[in-house]
Amino acid sequence: MKRFLIAALFALPLVAIATEVPMFTLTIKDHRYQPTTLKVPADTKIKIKVINNDSTPEEFESSDFSREKIVMPNSSIEVFVGPLKAGEYKFFGDFHQDTAQGVLIAE
């Protein structure tokens, strides 16, 4: 019961907001992001879906907009980002920093 209540409590804001947030998709293939430049609206809360098509885990990370989440092989995650001020924000794959690099442009 208690667990259910807690789960319900946590689920509330998700239900309330899930419908309004615009979503953008990034795909990881061969330890590279596609696209490498993603344009998103500034001053708006957005959701980024990261699909990992590699057979190895990756961590979607950004110090610029301060997010980190592990993406298991052949699966996807969703991360809420922002609202961000207009500007450029770098992101990377923590496990393959030499290849997995990208930029988020808020405008």
């Binding site: 998700l14 301060s66 592990i70």
Partner: protein, 286 residues
């Protein structure tokens, strides 16, 4: 090899700094080596488990299981550190006096110590599970220099931990526990702020302002120094409002807790008898 070493180094460093502060804070407590060693062992086993079930954790709670899990681990550590800090405020001086008298080995604080064992375990578990996942991926990709990279990373991270530890030992005994207690308070506040960040990422908490300030031009989160300060005092180059709230709440709560529940050893010794008398006083303050 160096790529592997660098990632492992960063994760080990984060865990090592927490272990170091715990080690310093438990200076003079008997058998603490076993407690800390046990905590590290438990943490490594936990990290393997978490990595094994990473897929299931990520899928839980409609996709925000990873954030919830991280936030829970961090909050658990905050609670345990908080408890220890308040416990130390009434026993710390006693501990310091005993240490001066017998030059070490004090038989005390088993209960508080097992809390800190859990803090060590949680720290190693969180950073360790990332290392495990990373290495698993590297192994699958057939990277060479895996073992050497791992060894260099672990050695490097632990070395920095040891350097900090021996640096801390140079603090005069009179101020030692005050200093380590403050480090624990800031450590706990920083962990709480990180937990808040995970809950914002999962959209479970409002951000209350996305970037209150931006000091990344001065010291970025990605740099080694930035990472160290992130763990030690919760430094964040672009904090959100809610992170500052969590940080402040923990610092204030621990300061108040220390003030109200702690006190000098003498007061602590008398407390059981005068509990009834002390209670109204507490009410008056609150």
């Amino acid at each position: 090899m160096w790529g592997i070493a660098l990632l492992v180094f960063r994760e080990v460093l984060e865990a090592a700094l927490i272990v170091t502060i715990v080690a310093a804070a438990t200076r003079g407590v008997a058998r603490r080596g076993w407690f800390i060693g046990g905590g590290i062992g438990l943490g490594v086993s936990g990290a393997l488990l978490v990595a094994t079930f990473a897929g299931a954790i990520a899928g839980a709670a409609s996709g925000v299981g990873q954030e919830l899990f991280n936030a829970c681990v961090l909050f658990a550590a905050v609670l345990m550190i908080g408890w220890h800090v308040i416990w130390m405020s009434s026993h710390g001086r006693e501990l310091a006096q005993h240490m001066k008298a017998v030059g070490g080995a004090v038989q005390t604080g088993a209960s508080s110590l097992s809390l800190l064992l859990a803090v060590v375990a949680l720290a190693v578990l969180r950073e360790g599970s990332e290392v495990v996942l990373f290495l698993y991926g590297m192994m699958a990709g057939g990277a060479d220099g895996l073992v050497r990279g791992l060894a260099i990373g672990i050695a490097g991270g632990s070395t920095v931990g040891f350097l900090l530890y021996f640096g801390l030992l140079r603090i005069p005994l009179r101020y030692f526990f005050t200093a380590t207690n403050w480090m624990l308070v800031l450590l706990a506040a920083g962990l709480a702020s990180s937990a808040a960040r995970y809950l914002v990422q999962a959209n479970l908490l409002p951000e209350l302002g996305s970037q209150i300030w931006d000091s990344s031009w001065l010291l970025s989160d990605g740099s080694v120094l930035g990472k160290m300060l992130h763990i030690l005092i919760g430094y964040d180059a672009r904090p959100s409002g809610i992170q500052l709230v969590f940080y402040a709440v923990v610092v204030i709560a621990l300061m108040l807790g220390t003030r109200l529940l702690g006190g000098s050893p003498r007061q602590a010794a008398v407390r059981p008898a005068s509990k009834a008398a002390a209670a109204p006083e507490l009410d008056a303050v609150v």
